[in-house]
Amino acid sequence: MHGRIEGSLMLTWALAITGALLLLPANILPVMTVIYLGSGEPSTIISGVMQLYNAGLWGIALVVFVASIAVPAMKLMGLFLLLIQVQLRLPLLPLQSMRLYRVVSGIGRWSLLDLFMISILVALVDMGVIAQVVAGPGSTAFATVVVVTMLAARSFDPRLIWDVYDQRCFDNENPGAGNE
């Protein structure tokens, strides 16, 4: 039996806000630097995608874009939508919210793609002056965003959606109950 998550709403709020704040340094700070023959400039997540796109690899650019930019952003928006809905008891369709919840908790792990790639490249391309890949501080921030949002999706208890729904059904059946 799955127990209810204690303080689910507050915990999810806290984690989601942390994730949203961290998204800023994660996108501004460089995640890695490719040094080739002594020269190279740090690249952020976005410029990494642009490089791939400019090199004509739009397919792989799309994959990286979806995994490391679209997914975290969509996921945070989805989480905030769920949280606001439960907090304000908005009359949305619970089935749609459930679908959103499942998408949000299912896609998060794919954002780690970029970090795995960095860890592979750092080990693979390590030839001193000739060529070297160095990780940047943005990658730490990005890793934290992914972990924090995964934990946030985890700590959100979908039964809250149904609590709101049940309460509304109850209110509709007994319109006088609230006024006593």
Binding site: V63, W110, L112, S119, A123, I130, A131, A135, R159
Partner: protein
């Protein structure tokens, strides 16, 4: 009386883990799955031969883990210089560069979580045959549920592909034996996840207990 208790046992109630709807008599026939009528959550899948398949697959996964973790995945060379990548030296390189948290995360998601998942599933499937292991097996199932989404071999695989394509212009990239083992391990890991369902383990324990009770009752008469 005996029959009444038996019927009661089969007609147990449970709450859907996503919407708390109470559901009675919830066991899917083999090969099918049970879906909550209100929120469409998958309550329980009942894959055919779940325990046997999971036991075999998790052992396969453990065996594949050895070459996948030790052999190099890829080779990269520029001029006379070359480097190779294994599952662990990426972690080590990040650690040496001072990214402790990042290297711990990569280590956990790409090595530890998949390995522990295989170990737990192997333990659950083989261990559920003996009564004295009931407690530890239950703990293992709970651990497995927490660990499930952190094993990211498939994401790592995509990372390997992106790395391969990204470095194509810079030097010569070659795929090594380790990568084939890794791909096999990833497929086995996904199949294992699909073939396993905790309820099958509970059902097996229940069957065994009922048999034991029947044996005791038969002995006293």
């Amino acid at each position: 009386m005996q029959r009444g208790a038996d019927v009661m046992q089969r007609r147990w109630q449970r709450a859907c883990h996503e919407c708390d709807l109470l559901i009675t008599d919830a066991l899917a026939p083999p090969g099918q799955k049970l879906v909550c009528p209100r929120c469409n959550a998958v309550l329980h899948r009942n894959p055919k031969n779940s325990i046997r398949y999971t036991a075999a697959l998790s052992l396969t996964g453990l065996l594949l883990f050895i070459p996948a973790a030790t052999l190099p995945l890829m080779h990269f060379s520029i001029f006379a210089f070359s480097g190779e990548s294994t599952l662990l030296n990426g972690v080590a390189a990040l650690f040496n560069a001072g990214y402790v948290w990042l290297s711990a995360l990569v280590l956990f998601c790409s090595v530890l979580a998949p390995l522990v998942k295989f170990l737990l599933l192997a333990f659950i499937c083989w261990g559920s045959a003996w009564a004295f292991l009931d407690g530890p097996v239950a703990v293992a199932v709970r651990w497995y549920r927490h660990l499930k989404e952190w094993g990211m071999l498939d994401v790592y695989m995509l990372g390997v592909l992106v790395a391969l394509i990204k470095m194509r212009d810079l030097g010569k990239m070659e795929v090594d034996v380790g990568l084939y083992c890794f791909v096999a391990m990833m497929l086995v890991a996904n199949l294992t996840t699909l073939s396993f369902d905790p309820h099958v383990v509970w059902a097996r324990m229940e069957r065994r207990r009922r048999r034991a009770r029947a044996a005791v009752a038969g002995g006293t008469q």
